[in-house]
């Protein structure tokens, strides 16, 4: 079943099963997006993801289908992330510079993924959000502008700068000495 009839059932009858189906369907995307924003802090990403879905449930009556349900969830997730950031008085340095244990450090994740995660931590949070939405979730620039509530020009700048920084970080020597000649 597609999203629209499930959403209609949640709105009309407060159908919890329908809402649970929507959550199961989109939890991976929302948690993955937040994981990137939270620099690999899985527990924090999951807390914000729970908050995101709770807010989505409370506001589902105001959902309009133009942008797609997942984009709508991403917008709520990003706002939830920002309010959590404000609530905890995170500074950019605190969130970005302190390397957290990256989720991808299990056996299946290679060095490249870990390097990328570390490099992403060095980016500013809007740059991380833009790159994640653009490449990880395949969203267009206008869609990202809508989700992040930023002008299109700013989105393009964040993506270009983010990529530039990532390339520089990934091509430079790793501080841990893991670089190859």
């Amino acid at each position: 079943m597609e999203d629209a009839p499930l959403i209609a059932r949640v709105i009309a009858d407060d159908d919890r099963h329908a809402f649970a189906t929507l959550v199961r369907r989109h939890q991976s995307a929302v948690r993955g997006f937040l994981l990137r924003l939270c620099c690999g802090d899985g527990a924090l990403a999951d807390d914000i993801a729970q908050e995101t879905f709770l807010r989505a449930y409370q506001r589902i009556g105001s959902y309009r289908s133009e942008g797609g349900f997942e984009s709508w969830l991403f917008a709520i997730a990003y706002r939830s992330f920002l309010s959590e950031k404000r609530r905890r008085h995170w500074s950019a340095e605190e969130l970005n510079a302190e390397p957290r244990a990256v989720e991808a450090d299990d056996e299946t994740a290679g060095d490249v993924a870990a390097d990328l995660a570390r490099a992403l931590q060095q980016l500013r949070e809007p740059e991380r959000a833009c790159l994640s939405l653009c490449y990880q979730w395949g969203m267009s620039h206008p869609e990202i502008a809508k989700v992040l509530e930023l002008p299109m020009g700013t989105i393009k700048t964040h993506i270009a700068r983010g990529k530039q920084k990532l390339r520089a970080l990934l091509s430079s020597d790793d501080p841990g000495g893991e670089s190859e000649p």
Binding site: I11, A12, D13, D14, R16, F19, A20, V23, R24, Q27, S28, A29, R31, G32, L35, D46, A49, Q50, F53, L54, Y57, Q58, G61, A104, D111, V112, A113, D115, L116, L131, S132, C134, Y135, Q136, W137, G138, K163, L166, R167, L170, S171, D173, D174, E178, S179, E180
Partner: protein, 106 residues
Amino acid sequence: MNEQPESLESLLADAPYIDDAGFTESLMKRLPPRRPSLRFRTLILLGSTLASTCIVAAIPGARQLLMQAAGALVGDAAAVGSNLVAAGIVLGLAVWGALGAAQSDF
């Protein structure tokens, strides 16, 4: 480490599926109590409207009541007396119906 610039996009595109692992279940436990269904809210709205209509229809000379109530609003309160109480009930029911409608997701 040396990263090929052209592979950056594909590296970024890597989005491994995150297993639910109880996420949905714990979220469902945190949802607020069930709100009245749309059907129930519609029944409240229709019921209150119907009830107020019946009360007005049951009062002898309903039109006169309305005229007297209007007169009371401009200062002739003594003339309407107890009919104003009935008008108050009608008004209360109408407000109740309006609140029921306001809480709905129409």
